[in-house]
């Protein structure tokens, strides 16, 4: 096998003096947080400002940082919650939100499960919980840090999972203004705070937690960089919140951001069915507007949005089918003060009918461009990476009879994904249950030495479904490429319950464009709640040739 040194790289280092950067005015007390992950994920639970102590929350309602107070729990689930939850696949890297020292690393099958506590400056602590089961010997540790270790912002502290009192893989992230460990290692909730701060018109209820006058008013702590998916510059309007109105017949699901979403059939053009999001928390300026596209019930290729701007209505169109629990930008718009308003029309004219999702909308204020001064430092990086040939996937034919080499995830039930489908052959059985999501993925590392190579992905698929063909597309198998941190790079194939039934079919794709990259090959099934669809995958190969 030949080898060669990688090409030299010039690294651009942008030096931005702190005074020249527009520091978020809300971030106080010296702590600024980056998001605890890269990419975008579905937030499934907000912080409750009124007594964030779980079952001890006396009002049984949820009060979020905008000041809105709703009955438990949609669209902000759930009462007494002392942090933020994001749904994410097991094994997603979880990142330190700021520099600090690891104060505690604990394995547990209850409560917060496996978790890390980091002590930052000014007494703040952050917690990262429900990390995956700790199996370092199997190449799947929960933790990437030890007690006493210094960490920098963005360092991987562990990998997400579903340990403890958790009903699905997610990250629970919490911020505390002071100590947060009890003598038995459990988390002490009295010092919990909301990193989104408090934007309500009334005083922050946290001021009276744990008792009258003994609490504090939360400050927004996100560093709010332009590239950050979470920002103090965001105004989020959840569907089913006070700023959301839907007209016509919509169905609801918990698969949306905030544990709630609306969805309906796309019907025909001119349908009176619509959804709108409004907020008065807008100042005159340019905003980037995002729609959250959930992984389910978002199959329209032609979602139409109308945005009210300083120049009247402007339109945007979105292919919801290709997004999977992601914030998707609709464009940048100059908005008039106090008038954030987005309308989505359900009638797209698509035939057969598809699902259109109305989930959260986000208004992000764009800051005026600041002059940036660059310094170019020539740096020669020497890395060794052997060129590769042949099949790179491990156990692509599942001949081991299990998922060796693959990462699997199943939202409901726990039967193995790899099963025998006839007397001699094993394959990956995805979908399979009502209301189920499966993921089967394997990481592939190609390096610059492979940059000129031909890379090909091939696999065989088979599908059968209990869904009637008249019901339209409702169950899906997405074949995707994802970055090492889980961000979607490309959806290369979408199979549905309307695809060819009961016939093994080969699919081949040219992935030469990814020849020098590391990425995940991911098969992701999403079944709705009606009837199961069964997708089988076998003989998956990713080959490199020259």
């Amino acid at each position: 096998m030949s080898s060669r040194r990688s090409r030299s790289l010039k690294v651009l280092i942008a030096l931005c003096a702190a005074l020249m950067c527009d520091a978020p005015t809300q971030a106080q007390e010296g702590l600024r947080l980056r998001p605890p992950f890269t990419g975008t994920y579905r937030m499934t639970a907000y912080f409750d400002h009124y007594f964030p102590l779980y079952g001890s929350d006396p009002d049984g309602r949820v009060t979020v940082y905008t000041g809105e107070n709703v009955a438990n729990c949609s669209p902000y689930c759930y009462r007494g919650h002392s942090g933020y939850d994001w749904s994410m696949s097991t094994g997603t890297p979880v990142l330190a939100v700021a520099d600090g020292v690891v104060e505690s690393v604990m394995e547990s099958s209850t409560g917060y499960g496996n978790r890390v506590v980091i002590r930052h400056g000014n007494g703040y602590r952050t917690i990262y919980t429900h990390l995956r089961e700790h199996r370092p010997g199997q190449g799947a540790p929960a933790f990437n840090v030890v007690v006493g270790q210094d960490v920098r912002e963005g360092d991987v502290v562990g990998w997400s999972g579903n340990t403890g009192n958790s009903s699905g893989a997610h990250l629970h992230f919490g911020v505390y203004r002071g100590p947060c460990l009890l003598n038995d290692g459990r988390i002490y909730e009295r010092n919990a705070t909301d990193p989104f701060g408090w934007d309500g018109s009334a005083p922050d209820p946290l001021r009276n937690y744990p008792s009258a006058g003994q609490g504090h008013t939360a400050s927004c702590l996100w560093r709010s960089g332009a590239e950050d998916v979470i920002s103090c510059d965001d105004v989020i309007v959840e569907d089913a919140s006070a700023g959301s109105i839907v007209a016509g017949r919509w169905l609801t699901s918990t698969r949306g951001n905030g544990y709630h979403m609306f969805y309906t059939n796309t019907l025909t053009n001119g349908s009176p069915i619509s959804a709108s999001w409004t907020t008065a928390a807008i100042t005159t300026g340019v905003y980037r507007i995002y729609a959250f596209v959930p992984s389910q019930y978002a199959t329209t290729r032609q979602a139409r949005y109308s945005i009210w701007t300083a120049n009247g209505w402007q339109d945007a169109q979105l292919n919801q089918l290709i997004y999977y629990d992601e914030w998707v930008p609709l464009g940048d718009y100059a908005l008039p003060a106090g008038q954030g308003w987005v309308v989505m029309h359900a009638g797209t004219g698509e035939s057969p009918a598809r699902w259109i999702a109305a989930d959260a909308v986000k208004f992000r204020r764009l800051r005026p461009t600041q002059p940036i001064h660059y310094a170019y430092l020539p740096v020669i990086l020497h890395t060794y990476c052997p060129a590769q040939h042949g099949q790179l996937l491990v156990n692509g034919d599942f001949s081991t009879g299990d998922a060796t080499g693959w990462v699997t995830e199943r939202s409901s039930r726990h039967e193995a994904i790899v099963q025998r489908y006839n007397e001699t052959n094993y394959g990956a059985w995805l979908g399979r249950y009502d209301d189920n999501q499966d993921r089967l993925s394997q990481r592939v590392s190609l390096c610059p030495a492979d940059g000129e190579a031909h890379v090909s992905l091939s696999f065989w698929w088979w599908m059968n479904s209990a869904e009637s063909e008249e019901a339209g597309e409702s169950d899906y198998l997405y074949v995707r490429l994802r970055s090492p941190s889980g961000e979607l790079l490309q959806t290369i194939l979408v199979l549905t319950n309307l695809s060819q039934r009961e016939q093994w079919t080969q699919a081949v794709f040219d992935l030469s464009a990814y020849a020098s990259q590391t990425f995940w090959v991911s098969f992701e099934a999403v079944n709705n709640a009606e009837h199961p669809t069964h997708f089988w995958i076998d003989n998956v190969s990713l080959t490199v040739s020259r």
């Binding site: 079952g55 604990m106 547990s108 006493g148 003598n183 459990r186």
Partner: protein
Amino acid sequence: MYRLHPSPDRRLLVADIAYGEQVYPLVIDLKRSAVYTLPGEQAYFYVWHPDSRRVLVSAVEGWLLVDVMSRRYAPLAQFDTTGESLPLRALAYSPDGQSLADAAVYAPTVTETTARIEIGLWQAGQRRPLFSLADGSMLAEHSLRWSPDGQQLAFIADVHRDGGRQTQLWTIDMRTGNAEMRGMLAQEAQYNHPPAWSPDGSAIAAIAQRSDGEASIVVFDVRSGGRRDILLRPKGTPAHLVWSTDGRWLVFSLTQEEFSEVWVSSADGARQQAIARAMPAGAPFALVEGHE
């Protein structure tokens, strides 16, 4: 609700109520059909005192011994400042109430790079380390259990060694301090079931996860060291394992699909039958009056 803890005299029951990431203990008086809460901010139940009147809880206020009827509580008398600072994950009173065993779990640090579990014994306000399990990283919840005669202590721990993760059942002879690894219960799985001593102390039963993914119940003969695997028919996920008060039966929940049933098995595994059907999956139960 996910776990029940009957008092030694089986008149009271602590029910762990789970909400979000927190667990709240409620005390149920089975004779009076009354329910009490426990004092202490974020109180978490650890163990009954042998007097069946008091419980040991961890709370923001510290380790507390709480009288469940009067709700009066006091810091745990055995602990000095050393006890409060230990990374304790389990505590258990000896049957005579004179001794308190604990388990401290030390996570890896920048200076001590491997985990360990240390079992200690408190007597007259002093703690004496009994046994240190190298590479021990997690203790199954409520798994520190004294034998009925107070001569031995059992616990279940996860050990990371030789590139793998094993869940192991250990016993410590409290007279000699000798520790013995009785058997492996699971591999590469985060395990959370306590062991169950037979009423006469001759055997320990525990739930095991076999390498083929099926679960079974194993019974360890304490004297001979023998191990008997009881295969479950039908297959399912067992939990909440207890012995009948006469020691003839093992009682457990068995979950299949969305429902759990209460099953009994003779101690040799020969006879198995369901005695209560169709609880929601994961519903706990406790044997409070025994089963014949």
